[in-house]
Symmetry: C2
Subunit: 385 residues, 2 copies
């Protein structure tokens, strides 16, 4: 299976960096202490965790004491929304989310809706961008939190988070601003203090780290209710024995992602543009989903009229090319992507969508492989449909 | 720091088994796919997860489709209690927990208490055992769930879970029975179908697996509400990208723990008894916390009159011996252990408690090391107090 795999699904997950795997292996073999233990083995584990906390904080423009380690991006998003609601209920009963958030945000908000929180969904433009003024128009005195993702996971569009935060504060300075930044780290410079958000979610495995680790940035002074209760780790916000090896891996991956962001953007952008130009020459009626103007360089989400994305995906897979239709989390589902629907794409067109996402490990050969086979696959898929 | 470390804190966490570290390293280096992805890399990751699910299920006497992977034991306990409450609210409003549960259960129950669930605490005997009849006496028509741990984490006493489940069902057959079995796996044979529990929590790092992975057993037919919302992984009960490497490690560790349980029990029991006999000869007034009659072989929790557990811990640490006073999660705290308090130990005595927990890696030299230094340390601690 690994001969000639062309992996173009970096938005779903990324290969673990060799130095991350090595550092994690060392921790697993040598440093097994529980960071909550007082003895030498425990103190050593705690030291490793705190070093990683500094690395993650530095990588996202935060202070180490503003980083809460979680079991992943989904848990971080859940902690942000439910933690804010748990703390603020009574004073506030309203939440605003964009219509094309990741399910971790949308479904957490939906659950809060069943608990008496009113949830408003901000419409998204056909360009895949959320308008700060539109967000602000939904904010009321009773709005506890606004959640808009920094980068959409399907179409890769970069949202004006800083402007959204300002616009929200201008209407209600008590409203918390959360951003799901899972797709932002490593793809654009992340500077949370400059963005002036209160909360932000991250996942290690999107930046060359391991699966099963994430973080929630909680701005100093912001109070949340815990979602997992127990031993009181992570200042009581996330109880549970810390995943020391995973956290060490996350620290290294975050540091590396932040350091290489500009170099990677340039290199990956050139490949993405060559992929798009090549495909357009062969499939002139393809539609790029969302604007190319404000998009991370690795993303190419396209819709191909007269095809089914699932079919394209399977045929590409047979040709050794890994990509995605819609987000990976939902790719078992048959419904057209909620992201493309929110952007107003006609259902028929949305069903023919494919996402190529390039990353640090992508090469010109990967692009060549897609250019070599996709036109033929599209022809086959059109005959099948 | 690693020269001559005598690690007698296996109840806090265990060294990762070499074969677990190796298998995880291979996954991290080679199999980075997202198990939710449809392409070859994703299918390979899913295969690894499902193989591990079978290993864990076999190790605990369950079916693979009854295993929900989580980010650890604490998350599993939280999902059990809150998931049951979320599903059953409206029909039931009462929960029963033993007074010496792990904080993951106690604090989740306490939080539910703030949400309108009435919580009863079953008293614990001075022997560290929970009486099935006492549990049953708290059960009412409105009792949604009973939670009693299989093995107490501090004193190592084994609870009559099967009898507790029967006694609860005799009063209310609709009441769910959950057991925090985090300290049971690897220390006694775990057979969930025979125990007839509905829910059971496990943590990989207690059995030679990695930190940051756990599982909740959810008996076929039992419905829970999710606590983490998002991509719908784990049958919608635990959204979030699966920790593939960690889950692979958990599978191997659970398999090995189940296979070696009898051999380990015999070997570790002999060492524990020698440790106790040796200490009694030198410190005749030491008190063993809880009965020795129904206890996992690796646990020796003692109280030493006229000492402070924290002092003993620090002096032992200086001598290269890692152990614990109270549970690791709470060992930053100064309060005497809630477990020993629940067992009726006088506060003064409870403050002088130390827990030695032996495991697979323990050796006669570890026991010798404690026997050589503890009597002198006790004398010093008594002078200090």
């Amino acid at each position: 299976m690994k001969t000639k795999l062309h992996y173009l699904d970096h938005a779903a997950t990324t290969p673990v960096l060799p130095e991350v795997a090595e550092a994690m292996g060392k921790v697993l073999r040598e440093d097994f202490g529980n960071p909550s233990s007082l003895h030498a083995a425990g103190r050593r584990a705690k030291e490793l965790v705190e070093d990683a906390r500094e690395q993650v904080a530095a990588g996202v423009g935060a202070r180490p004491d503003e980083i809460v380690f979680t079991g992943g991006g989904t848990e971080a998003d859940n902690l942000a929304l439910k933690g804010a609601a748990g703390k603020l209920r009574g004073n506030a009963d309203h939440m605003v989310v964009s219509a094309f958030e990741h399910h971790a945000v949308l479904d957490a908000a939906h659950w809060l809706g069943t608990q008496g929180v009113e949830v408003s969904h901000v419409p998204v433009g056909g360009d895949g961008l959320v308008d700060p003024a539109a967000v602000a128009s939904f904010v009321r005195p009773s709005t506890m939190l606004v959640s808009v993702m920094a980068v959409n996971n399907e179409v890769g569009t970069i949202q004006p988070i800083s402007e959204i935060a300002s616009a929200v504060r201008a209407v209600n300075p008590r409203t918390l601003v959360h951003t799901d930044a899972v797709q932002a780290l490593g793809n654009l410079p992340v500077d949370l203090h400059r963005w002036e958000v209160d909360l932000a979610a991250f996942a290690a495995h999107k930046v060359g780290g391991p699966k099963g680790v994430g973080a929630l940035f909680v701005r100093s002074g912001v109070a949340l209710e815990a979602t997992a209760h127990g031993g009181g780790q992570e200042r009581g916000l996330r109880s549970g024995t810390l995943n020391v090896a995973g956290i060490v891996g996350f620290g290294l991956a975050a540091q590396s992602a932040a350091k290489e962001v500009h170099e990677k953007a340039e290199r990956v952008g050139v490949m993405r543009d060559r992929l798009l130009d090549g495909l357009r020459a062969e499939i002139p009626d393809l539609v790029v989903n969302g604007t190319l103007g404000s998009r991370i360089p690795g993303n190419l989400s396209i819709s191909i009229p007269g095809t089914e994305g699932e079919t394209l995906l399977l045929l590409l897979d047979q040709a050794g090319i890994a990509c995605s239709s819609g987000s990976a989390c939902a790719s078992g589902a048959i419904d057209p992507s909620h992201v493309l629907s929110a952007m107003g794409l006609p259902q028929k067109l949305a069903r023919g969508s494919v996402r190529f996402s390039l990353g640090r490990a992508s090469t010109d050969e990967d692009v060549d492989a897609v250019l070599a086979v996709l036109p033929g696959i599209v022809a086959r898929a059109r005959r099948a449909a």
